[in-house]
Subunit: 230 residues, 2 copies
DNA sequence: GGCAGACCATACGCTCTGTCTAGATAGTCT
DNA sequence: AGACTATCTAGACAGAGCGTATGGTCTGCC
């Protein structure tokens, strides 16, 4: 409906003037999908809905994207790029307080990214298993965080009792899950501070022996190789 | 299968004799679906596939179940019942070694349940968000574990630095995620021992400050044999 | 014999997907 | 100007899948 049925084809809707806005339609699709994702789940959105929201034709849609999932993939790439993923300085050498602050900061950054990009991230978490490309995309994304965390764990020799890589993978996916639960409003993580508190606590507890807040933990334990792990 | 196209209606396929096997068809549906889930994802299974596998008609299917998701709900209930969920003695008072052993045991039990019921649990994890009833079912299931864990945390006053309930929720969902990753073969959790090691480490580290990593690798621990990694 | 219940086969209407055709429009080339 | 090309539109289409409905058939029981 809308200004659509005014008789003639609504031509000037999009100025086909310059070359630079050549991807106009592509962007309209992405934007419309993003907006729809803020209201419904991906499986509740039909391609026809996107068509209507972006005010384009079916042909155009399939010219730019292979499928609904393909659109989601593009949105996810946008989202994580924008959140300049590398913004994970993570752990750093330093005294106990500094490590705590650094870990907590990284976790808060994650929360911020999820707050800003909730609809898209929610969608990828719910759908990455239903499409090979999405599966690869999301696993790769998680792998990025895992690799960064692994490096850090190995560098300051924390959490030496278990395989650093396994620990890093676990912490990464823990984040994925809790941020997601927060995004869909499952208590107690609907409160962002509670979320950050717990995540930080678990990170600190599994990386260094001391828990989060009480300051009784000793510094550095650089040994870290008690089992002669490869 | 296959004895289907022998011409006449295959009557005696199921003895309609007694009253007790009245639910024969219902069970055939559940069993067929379970088998199909061992091979494909739920979204790749059409109702027609279940019909063929169970060798029943469309009408019968919808007599016993409302939908594919309804079947999954029944399967999930079966699965967790069978795994006598309550089998989570979890943490118990005791010295460091005993606590470690108890936690590890509970986690191993979880791994066993997931090993036995992998197809069904994989399916519910992948689909609980796409249906209100499944959402409630799974959240309730997680709530069960969370409640048990919360009680235990409060009882022995561990992990006092954060809200016990939030911590318990986080640990529960961490398990859900890691068991799931194991079930779909994501490394390093395709190795069950690595999975149990890390989960135990994180539980210990966040419940008690002395985590499982403090240098004293005394006997209580099975050593984890340091299998390297792929 | 006749009734009721369980089940079967099949068809139906609907929604959604992805492809395809034909036509309109705008900028470009000669 | 007129032809050309790329882009986009509208809409038809086939195919899959879902959930419902209809009519027939078998079995056991009164």
């Amino acid at each position: 409906m809308e200004e659509k049925a005014n008789g003639g084809p609504r031509r000037e809707r999009r100025t086909r003037a310059g070359r630079e806005d050549d991807r106009d339609i592509r962007r309209a699709i992405l934007e419309a999908t993003r907006e729809l994702l803020a209201e419904r789940r991906l499986d509740e959105i039909a391609v026809a809905d996107i068509l209507a929201a972006a005010d384009i034709s079916r042909g155009s849609f399939y010219f730019y994207f292979e499928s609904k999932h393909d659109v989601l993939a593009a949105l996810v790439r946008q989202a994580v790029d924008q959140g300049h993923t590398a913004a994970r300085p993570w752990l750093r050498h330093g005294d106990e307080d500094e490590r705590y602050a650094t870990v907590r900061h990284g976790i808060s950054e994650g929360a911020r990214l999820w707050r800003d990009q909730a609809p898209v991230l929610r969608a990828i978490v719910e759908n990455w298993r239903s499409d090979p490309k999405l599966t690869e995309l999301w696993l790769q994304q998680m792998e990025g965080y895992t690799a960064a965390t692994t490096t850090r764990i190995e560098q300051d020799g924390s959490g030496a009792a278990v395989d650093p890589r396994a620990l890093a993978t676990a912490l990464t996916w823990l984040g994925e899950r809790l941020y997601y639960l927060a995004a869909i409003g499952v208590p107690p993580f609907d409160d962002e501070e509670a979320l950050v508190d717990v995540l930080t606590h678990i990170w600190m507890g599994s990386l260094y022996q001391g828990a989060s807040s009480d300051g009784d933990e000793q510094g550095g334990r650089p040994g870290a190789d008690e089992r002669g792990r490869p």
